[in-house]
């Protein structure tokens, strides 16, 4: 059976934090393929590795403490080792990555690997740290007592990598008899027997010179997980991270926006006018460009997440916050994805992969878009600028700032309530156990950090990109068709003589399917104080929230390129009349629209990422409908409640 595949398959297994990713990157370089295992969202990383002059496939298993199939990761890993994953033969050898500074627990997984009838080679990492701690290890003796080859490697310095390749190449031809640790009966007895075997093996090969080893991490932790300062430092770190994301990302984001604008103009001038050109420029380039603009934020956020994870701080953050998060039934690890979602829900949702239990992960995904992301800011700014600018409460607090804060608070409160309800109903599960290693602090490995960041970005582009492209085209078509020849000709004439006029563009939008849809939903949104024009803007802004601003500009004929602070747009909104000649916008309408935008999903990229991360259209549609329903309900209560209280 081994010979079924001419290219040998080698699996890489190890505990989380054992240096597995660093080793995998060192062995395979840049030629990695990342995909998901069929039907689940466990990542499958594969690369090519040359051993003994021949090419082999190296597959990186998820980080594991055990192979007893209590989590999806463990289930997948043991399926791979048994050769039960479709499209993957049984591995010809397995490399067990073992952290020398944490031998006993790391070797537990190795004792389980012995049972799979696959040759095992132990790659011993962190040996430099181990020796700095004045411990001694006899690798030959360790190899003898374990009964498998042991190779010391330092992947970041490329040490031991060649030797590992040689040993693995030799092992490919070896036959290993499975060993089982069946002293006594029952699960517990077996775990006990495995640890006994490890203790005996280490007694002969390792000399410990006391526990002073972990001193540094424990000293750092005296401050970083301090009951009081720990929390303050956590908040400070997060503030710095988000501040940096906002400030650093603006420059590349603006450049991307300019670039796509220029690309659109170049394409338009290079192609003959017509439907196809409009599709390419207004549908594809504008739609996809509008989403790619988020890429800098995603890259930066994942840069910081990788650094926080690699240093070991992330586990501390979960430790500090687990008590708060578990109140609503979430895991401490849910905190970071939710915080990230204030920048953008897309990386936030992608960051939920660190949560092991699927129900907890889904609950976190379902509430992440309630965090007010940066795309909501233009909407808030426009509404506040138009109706609440310069007003103060108590003489000195600006209403604008209070409203802004209230919108953020509304999102958080609703998210916590929804999480609480979900965890007690459709995602019912006991509070997730919190049995988590606090790994020693380490300097982050540059290669791992960068690779991690690029992998995420690529996943976003590849998977979300296709869905986003499709939705962009649909939305464009809704706003473009039907195209009446008469109107089109007028438009051409107008645009030739006086390009700044958008009268016909706005007329087009009225007559388009989107305009008709706006009219069709008018009875539904009337109780929120919205007319059909706002309806059109709501439909268009499903592409991305900030599209609301440009759509309103088109509808009110003030030019597509107006931004949320533009006085022309603000004046147009204030003066807008509905078909009965009544004023459309009041401060209450503005507030209602803001509330709607806090809670409505209104972001096709998020929808695409949720589809990808949950691997389920049912969950995706559930999210779209419950968020829209909730947004409608809250907007209804705001508007009707406001009227009842006498506001207009």
């Amino acid at each position: 059976m081994r010979d079924a595949s001419p290219v040998p398959l080698i699996a890489l297994a190890g505990n989380p934090n054992a240096g597995k990713t660093t080793l995998f990157n060192a062995l395979t370089g840049l030629g990695q393929k990342v995909a998901n295992y069929p039907g689940v969202t466990v990542e499958r990383k594969e690369g090519s590795w040359t051993i003994g002059g021949q090419h082999s496939r190296l597959i990186d298993l998820p980080g594991l403490y055990s192979l007893d199939a209590t989590s999806i990761d463990e289930q997948i890993a043991s399926d791979v080792l048994r050769g039960e994953v479709s499209g993957l033969p049984k591995p010809d050898a397995v490399i067990a990555v073992v952290d020398a500074t944490n031998l006993e627990r790391n070797l537990y997984l190795v004792t389980q690997l012995f049972e799979f009838n696959v040759p095992v080679v132990v790659a011993l990492t962190m040996i430099d740290v181990f020796e700095k701690q004045h411990h001694e290890i006899n690798i030959g003796k360790l190899s003898d007592s374990l009964g498998v080859p042991v190779v010391a490697v330092n992947a970041s310095a490329d040490r031991g990598v060649d030797e590992l390749a040689d040993v693995v190449a030799k092992t490919l031809t070896a036959i290993q008899t499975p060993r089982r640790f069946l002293n006594g009966d029952g699960e517990n007895a077996r775990i006990f027997a495995r640890y006994n075997f490890i203790s005996n093996a280490l007694q002969e090969s390792v000399v410990h010179n006391d526990q002073a080893a972990h001193g540094i991490s424990e000293k750092i932790d005296r401050i970083l997980t301090h009951k009081f300062f720990g929390l303050i430092i956590l908040v400070a770190i997060l503030l710095v991270v988000f501040q940096t994301i906002f400030t650093w990302a603006t420059v590349p984001m603006d450049l991307l926006e300019l670039g796509f604008g220029a690309l659109g103009d170049a394409v338009r001038s290079g192609l003959p006018p017509g439907v196809l050109t409009d599709l390419i420029v207004d549908g594809i380039i504008a739609g996809v460009g509008g989403v790619l603009v988020f890429l800098p934020q995603i890259l930066l956020l994942f840069l910081f997440i990788s650094i926080l994870e690699d240093t070991g701080y992330m586990a501390r953050a979960a430790f500090l916050l687990d008590r708060l998060m578990s109140r609503v039934g979430l895991h401490g690890k849910a905190f970071l994805p939710l915080m990230s979602s204030f920048a953008c829900a897309i990386p936030g949702i992608m960051a939920t992969r660190t949560i092991e239990n699927q129900r907890d992960r889904f609950a976190t995904i379902m509430i992440a878009p309630f965090m007010s992301c940066s795309a909501r800011l233009p909407v808030y700014t426009l509404m506040i600028g138009a109706f609440f600018a310069g007003q103060k409460v108590l003489g000195f607090i600006s209403i604008g700032a209070v409203l802004m804060l209230a919108m953020y608070a509304l999102g958080i409160v609703v998210a916590l309530i929804v999480a609480f309800i979900l965890k007690r109903t459709i995602l019912k599960s006991p509070p997730p156990p919190f049995i988590m290693e606090l790994p020693p602090y380490r300097m982050p490995n540059l290669r791992t950090v960068v690779q991690n960041m690029l992998t995420r970005a690529w996943l976003f582009l590849k998977r979300a990109g296709t869905v986003i492209l499709a939705i962009s085209i649909i939305l464009w078509a809704l706003m473009y068709f039907p195209r009446e020849a008469q109107l089109d000709q007028n438009f051409r004439k107008v645009s030739e003589s006086e390009p700044a006029t958008n009268v016909t563009e706005s007329q087009h939008l009225r007559n388009s399917y989107a305009g008709k849809l706006g009219h069709a939903i008018e009875p539904v949104i009337q109780p929120l104080g919205f007319d059909w024009k706002i309806g059109v803007a709501l439909i268009a802004s499903f592409a991305a929230r900030e599209v609301l601003v440009s759509t309103l500009s088109i509808i009110y004929n003030v030019g597509k390129d107006e931004n949320e602070e533009s006085p022309t747009l603000i004046a147009a909104i204030r003066e807008a009349k509905n078909d009965q000649g009544e004023t459309v916008w009041t401060p209450l309408t503005a507030l209602t629209l803001m509330v709607f935008f806090v809670l409505a999903i209104q972001c096709m990229s998020t929808v695409a990422v949720v589809r990808r991360e949950t691997n389920s259209w049912v969950w995706t549609l559930f999210m779209v409908s419950y968020m829209t329903g909730l947004a409608y309900f809250a907007a209804f209560v705001t508007y009707q409640g406001g009227r009842w209280l006498g506001f207009s």
Binding site: F192, E218, L438
Partner: protein
């Protein structure tokens, strides 16, 4: 006595892990088997979870999970 009753900064030996199911099993797999020496390092800001040290590494767990661990000081 149970693990949550051990004072912070003190060491103890694990006697047994009570209960059945995935949580007690995971605790044992993480090395909390009879006879192993542990030390309670600290508790998180709101008193829960706690950090213990065993087999040369640090493990965080909730009080509710630590209840399953019988220890002798």
């Amino acid at each position: 006595m149970r693990l949550p009753d051990v004072e912070i900064g003190t060491s103890a030996d694990v006697v047994t892990v009570h209960g059945e199911g995935s949580v007690p099993k995971r605790l044992m797999e993480m090395g909390l088997v009879p006879g192993v020496k542990i030390r309670v390092v600290k508790s998180a800001p709101f008193g829960d979870p706690i950090e213990i040290r065993l087999r040369g590494y640090s493990l965080a767990l909730r009080i509710s999970e630590a209840e399953a661990i019988e220890v002798a000081v």
